[in-house]
Amino acid sequence: MKILTTVKKVVDVELTIHVKDGAIVEDGLQYVINAWDENAVETAVQLKENSGAETTLVSIGGGDNTDMIRRCYAMGIENGIHIEDPTLGAADSFVYAKVLQKVYEKGDYDLVITGKQAQDTDNGQTGIILAEYLGLPCVSNVIAIEVLDDQHIKVSRSGDAGTEIVELELPAVVTVDVSINEPRLPAMRGIMMAKKKKIDVMDLAALGTSPDEVGCATPKSEIAEFLKSDTRQGGQKFEGNAAEITAQVVDLLANEAKVF
């Protein structure tokens, strides 16, 4: 089984993010692997270990992704592709999906595993759109995968009414939730080994496509501006005798907030 997994370099959400004049202040930002993609990588590596799959990752954009891709190598991924092109700056999910389609078509893969969303955009669209473009079956928000045979996998998806058990015919696309596994910490030996491994960096032309073909110049939507989050303000905070302040708060909930 040949697996393609996607990884995106994204802003670290643990740090404070400032917005000025409609844009995010770049100063002081740090970048990390998208949390959901780390689960996708772990899923791929476990399938390699348990079912003998061959694993390849692809990353699009992000500038220098060497550290992130090496970290994935150290986790157990075998091959890495990085698509970098100056025209990808304003790419939306559809553009990403078109680029991934080109990568997929070059590789004869059986299974594509993506994180269910990226923590910078929180869109959750690319993997599903990729499946549509490829005409492949797709299940999103997957929390467990089991290989049935060479042509079939069984997945569990966290749905609205419970856990949906779906049998998928390969090739297929799945997008995974963080609850599918606990990504491993790469061992020091793996990190050292990863430094020697090659990363296949290419632009759109080298991939056999063009900015026009993947829609770089004509995104369906674009971010006009960033705004500060309309974060709510803290209200009244009570300290002191538990019985007194609790009674006071219940009175406010009933008579001021009118929730009871």
């Binding site: 998806r157 705004l227 974060t231 709510r232 219940v250």
Partner: protein, 319 residues
Amino acid sequence: MAKVLVIAEIKQGVIKSSTTELLSKAKAIGAETAVVAIGSNIESLIPGLVSAGSDTQYVADDPGLELFSAGPYASCVVDAAKQFGANLIWFGFSESGKAVAPRVAAQLDAACATEITDVTLHGDQIEVTRPAITNKVMQRVKVNIEELVAVVRAGAFEATEGITGTENVIKLSPPAPDLKAVIKELVSDASGDIDLADADIVISVGRGAKDQAGIDLVKELANDLKAGFGSSRAMVDGGFMPHGKQVGQTGKIVAPNLYMAFGISGAIQHLAGMNGSKVILAVNKDPEAPIFNVADYGIVGDLFEVVPILREEIKKIRT
């Protein structure tokens, strides 16, 4: 004139409030409205779809649609959207909506936006706002084409009181099943617990509850109030609560009338999952806990001491 197609959110034979909320917003922006309902044995829901505020009802009613399957559901939405000539297609904030919306957008060559909190029209120009980066910023997104498929964030739009529609039912032919992704089974979230997404009140526990005894104590309050019972990530990672009960950016995003957080410090991922709630009460021992920065009412104290008093006081005012 804008034409908005709303995907009815149906759960266990009941039309959920998001359907009315989305239709209310559609009428508020002056759009013509239609709704598409997908399921099995849903004929009896038609009056409810009308009173939710729709002027046309597309109904896909087929035994093959009893269990959710993204492919066939997307086909129904695309069919309805084409017949109606919709330029705006809105889903409520559900797992099925998030799975189907990108498929519909790809098939209709429309734009796609998830978790939108507002939408505005300037002539043909569609704009939406939505949170990004785990709720740390908002984006104003300009749509460059005339069709948009969107998933609306829970609690973003309010229902208009006294909204009504007109009955004009159009039956959709059943879609082909997805033979390459076959749904085998639905394992229901057992326990008969109140669904976090539907609950009027949601009560969550965090690390401050320590262990099962702490969880049980807070659960009693949830039972008193018939509240949904959730958790922070810490209690899920600790094995005390199931993943399906996790409130946060990586779990469930909720927007109830009242959210009560017990022993939850308020990590950014948790706040992103509940800060759309109308009223927030937080109980935490640490006066500096970040949860107090979003709570309307904060009690600095030990939950083991506060919860029993809360139960008594709430009982008093409710009787």
